[in-house]
């Protein structure tokens, strides 16, 4: 403030002679803006290269046959139908389990729990869980769902494992969204005699919903691309049928990609690229759904 004031005094009298300090700050500013631009170029270039490689290799293999057929030893007949449906089952069930549990946890932590030592311990643990490598969740799922609860290597066990994997991020994102709701809203509701649940249900939740949904979809998209935990909890490598229920065996798109890349024939590696495109489309559809739901929700916002 004071510096700017001095510059102005200068300008009134003598012809404009910027102080050395200003020149330096401008140079630093320019350098930094170039660096930031470079950073985004690197990120985008990596993405474009990746997409280009995948699309150029896999494009010619995209067909209805790929979507409709089961895998085959003949590349031209090979498809990923069981894997696609496996992924849809897993994603759907994961969302069904992780969304309510995650949001409920966030509501409890933000609206009900006080600032006790226990809450802090819970907080720290949830934050740590978000950083645990996914294969560790796979081992947990193998131990708890597949073996201890004796479910076997079925869709339900895979989905529950993925739900555990995506829970921490859903909780943290939901908490942030709930915290961003102005406290005046809560106070007004309390002032009118609303109970804690009424405040959470009718005021906080609707206001926080867009943020909650974004976090949830991002977290579940990440789960959809995971291979390691599914391999551990027993997704099948090769399966001709799509899952028929919670207790069917299943396979998933990332696993199909993994299988095809390990074949000696070059055609299968091109098929793997095509399978990656399908997986990307599934993820884009999910993200687009999230954006649409979010925009509808924020339009409905009353403040």
């Amino acid at each position: 403030m004071s510096v700017a004031g001095r510059e102005m005094n200068h300008a009134e009298g003598a012809p404009l002679a910027p102080s050395p300090g200003l020149v330096r700050r401008n140079v630093v500013g320019t350098i930094l803006s170039v660096l930031f631009l470079l950073a985004i170029i690197v990120a985008v270039a990596a993405l474009v290269t990746l997409l280009w490689t995948i699309v150029s290799r896999g494009w010619s293999w995209l067909s209805w046959g790929l979507i409709e057929n089961p895998p085959s030893r003949r590349p031209e007949r090979a498809g990923l139908n069981p894997a696609l449906f496996g992924t849809i089952w897993i994603i759907g069930l994961t969302a069904l389990v992780a969304f309510p549990v995650g949001v409920a946890t966030a509501i409890y932590l933000e609206e009900y729990a006080g600032h006790s030592r226990l809450t802090r311990i819970l907080q720290v643990n949830i934050a740590n869980l978000a950083g645990v490598p996914s294969v560790v969740y796979g081992l947990l799922g193998l131990g708890v769902f597949v073996e201890f609860m004796n479910m076997g290597r079925v869709v339900l066990a895979g989905a529950l494992t993925m739900a555990l994997l995506s829970l921490p991020v859903i909780i943290i994102a939901s908490q942030e969204a709930i915290r961003a709701v102005p406290s005046s809203l809560r106070e007004a509701a309390y002032g009118l005699g609303a109970t804690r649940w009424q405040v959470a249900r009718h005021h906080v939740l609707p206001a926080a919903l867009p943020g909650i949904l974004t976090g949830t979809i991002l977290s579940i998209s990440r789960a959809a691309g995971e291979t390691a935990p599914l391999l551990v909890v027993g997704a099948a490598g090769f399966l001709l049928k799509r899952p028929e229920g919670l207790f069917s065996s299943y396979t998933a798109l990332p696993i199909q990609v993994y299988q095809w890349t390990s074949r000696p024939q070059a055609e299968f590696r091109e098929l793997a690229a095509a399978a990656i495109i399908v997986l990307l489309v599934v993820l884009l559809v999910m993200n687009a759904t999230a954006i649409i739901i979010r925009q509808r929700a924020s339009r409905a916002q009353r403040w």
Partner: protein, 343 residues
């Protein structure tokens, strides 16, 4: 191919007679592909159930191909094929978790013990041959042939070989970069057994990967590389790799369909096996799947890049299977009588 799809048996005597005639002709015609005629039983479409296979990544593609064709005639049976490596697969098989084990080496003593403890008895069937190829970079113009002795010196634990000149003084003094499968793979075990001998291991300062394509990339990108993996991976990348002949005592032999099948490419020609849980073989869907497997293994193995075993092997396999299904067979192991069936 057409053998198994050629006709649906009718109920009348005429149809039966016709079927017999056609079977004889078709069986004779199919002689060179597979000596075993396969006629699906009438109720094959009604079979249901689940068959679980796991094990070797080398044998897996054969079982997958068989599953694919079997699905066309018995869509009610769900066949799941996993690839945990021969070692990883035997752990599950001997715990009674899987019905079929794909193996690129015979079962080990330790694994037999595991099976015995869990009361799992099994039958063994040989389904195809595979050659292990030794490859170098195409830039390498001096290595044409290696003796088993040289390979052992190169790969044994605590090997003193560091550069090519340690193997042959005429070769350059460049450090060799080694590539090979990881230790859970049957290919690795087979190589150790055949080249180094016994229950030992190799040197550990090589680049291991469970992904054979990664090994191909490694050797193709490194002038001083040497690696080993299944022959199919060489055949699909011939322009980027150089095949090395192996001298097992009878001169230098390069692996090919002929030299692998007649075992003159020694000691790196290996049979591929499947192990079938004896208890699973009491289920009709497993019985039918196995009949189909043995009848089509030769043709399908060739389809996915391996070499069919000699015809008499499949005939022996089939006889063993028939006895096992009839209940008169003796499981191939574990042999002692104290094996108790799993409850």
């Amino acid at each position: 191919m057409s053998v198994r799809r050629r006709i649906h048996a009718g109920a009348t005597a005429l149809a039966v007679a016709l079927l017999l005639a056609v079977s004889v002709v078709a069986a004779a015609w199919a002689q060179e592909a597979t000596p075993i005629p396969y006629t699906p039983p009438e109720n094959v479409g009604d079979l249901s159930g689940q068959i679980l296979a796991d094990g070797s990544s080398t044998v897996g593609p054969i079982t997958e191909a068989v599953a694919e064709e079997f699905f066309a005639i018995a869509p009610g049976v769900e066949v799941e094929v996993n690839i945990s490596g021969t070692g990883g697969g035997f752990k599950r098989f001997c715990a009674g978790e899987t019905d079929i084990q794909d193996a690129s080496r015979p079962i080990s003593e330790e694994e037999i013990e595991m099976c015995r403890e869990a009361g799992v008895q099994y039958y063994t069937f040989e389904v195809a041959y595979d050659g292990l190829s030794i490859v170098v970079n195409p830039e390498n113009d001096f290595v044409e042939c290696l003796t088993v002795d040289q390979l052992r010196q190169l790969w044994e634990a605590d090997s003193a070989v560091d550069s090519w000149s340690d193997l042959n003084p005429e070769w350059p003094d460049e450090t060799i970069a080694l590539y090979g499968p990881g230790t859970d793979s049957g290919t690795y075990d087979y190589f150790v057994e055949a080249i180094i001998g016994g229950d030992t291991s190799t040197r550990t300062d090589y680049t291991p990967s469970e992904d054979d394509n990664a090994l191909v990339e490694g050797v193709a990108g490194d002038d001083n590389a040497l690696g080993f993996f299944g022959l199919a991976y060489y055949e699909q990348n011939q322009d980027r790799l150089k095949l090395v002949a192996v001298d097992g005592g009878n001169g230098c032999v390069r692996p090919s369909e002929e030299t692998v099948r007649d075992l003159s490419y020694t000691p790196l020609s290996r049979p591929l096996y499947i192990y079938v849980n004896a208890e699973s073989l009491t289920q009709p869907e497993v019985q039918e799947f196995m009949r189909f497997y043995l009848a089509s293994a030769g043709e399908l193995a060739a389809d996915v890049g391996y070499i069919a075993s000699p015809g008499e092997i499949y005939v022996q396999d089939q006889a063993k299977l028939d006895a096992a299904i009839a209940g008169t067979g003796t499981p191939d192991g574990p042999t002692t009588a104290d094996a108790t069936p799993a409850s």
